[in-house]
Symmetry: D2
């Protein structure tokens, strides 16, 4: 999924720091404001899908205008997430790695999935409480 | 901000793919559902801050219980963002790099910031339309 | 849909004012905090539906536990909307009436719907921009 | 806060039903889609406030352009809340009245507030768990 010149999360995070500093936007980048902005942008991503049928939603990237909006809103969500992490001093990759480890204990792989392979039926009944 | 064993975004993305596959949660991971889940988790991050004063919000990480919740919700937001990107085939790092480049053209650094250095006053008047 | 003792919006709004005043919560009820809280609660309503198929979602009220959560989250969203309106001095019913009037001009009823009655096909092609 | 010709919630709800029916938008108005749309609109209301200082946010209605947006987004949130309630058969006013009654038991008025009147200090320490 990635090309040779793939930027790292840390490089992008620092680029956003410089971008905001050059424009003197740092006073606005409080944890509370950035958490609000992240939520607003996640809403804009959802907006693309709100009236689509499941079938239309699954084919969203075959519509060039919608595909562009998806790229744009993914970028905005990630930007505000990284800026929020800068503001509170959290490493998002470490936070996610730790969470996956907790969830591997909390949601063990069901035995029928291990045993049954392709014959397995159904999904984890805990899906209401599905974490990831 | 990162340690020596820092996981990459791509490694975490693949780990989430395996996590969901082992639990047979893939049928739930449609683009529309994941966009909704991302928005819900961004709301849970915002919930931590909703009644805090700006001062309390800036000190959020000095409260151990709130700091834990922040780590947890950052992880959830990033998890759903990566799973959404898997579902639609978007590279989030490339999307963000492209967006930063567009925004560097759209929001040029104000000349008074370049000239004035520490004496510069005020902020970009375009902040209502602030992208990142 | 309403019983004989139906409370009015204005009576509920005032009851919420007294509820917050008695508990000295007014300092928290700034427009910005209440807009955040409204968004958080709307996310909690959406959370009920995030993993449901369209069929499960349509039958949400036949599950007593989900039905209770729906009532609860509808109440929370309306509570914060009314408290937000108190904080900014907006009458929500007048605002909606005015918006419906604007939208009746902006989205005229398509002629084929008027003419064709049951034979009409399709939906308004402006649905991407659907307001209400 | 209300004029003589104040519309009722029930009248507005029915007007929205007719508006959608005339435009054949009913197939889109599933509970899941409407919960998503409600969340998106609540995000648009929050967007108005995301970069404002508390002082700017408190004065939001003195800026005509922002005041217009506030009216518009309040209307959209209420519209989708009423359409959601139509789709699931919930009376929002009854739901809120029932919730206020539950919260009056859950969050009793602190005795120092009752006794101390204007001399009372501090706020309810349960505010992290503040419901309304």
């Amino acid at each position: 999924m990635t090309g040779p010149a793939e930027p790292t999360v840390e490089a992008l995070r620092q680029r956003l720091v410089h971008f905001a500093a050059a424009r003197r936007w740092e006073p606005f980048h409080t944890p509370k404001n950035l958490a609000a902005a992240l939520s607003v942008e996640a809403g804009e991503l959802l907006e693309i899908f709100q009236w689509l049928t499941p079938e239309q939603a699954d084919a969203v990237m075959s519509d060039p205008e919608r595909a562009h909006r998806v790229h744009d809103e993914v970028a905005d969500v990630l930007a505000y997430l990284l800026q929020f992490c800068t503001a509170v001093g959290v490493d998002p990759l470490e936070a996610l790695a730790a969470k996956i480890e907790r969830n591997e204990l909390r949601f063990p792989v069901p035995m029928d999935a291990v045993d049954a392979g392709e014959n397995g039926v159904g999904v984890n009944s805990d899906v209401d409480d599905q974490p990831l």
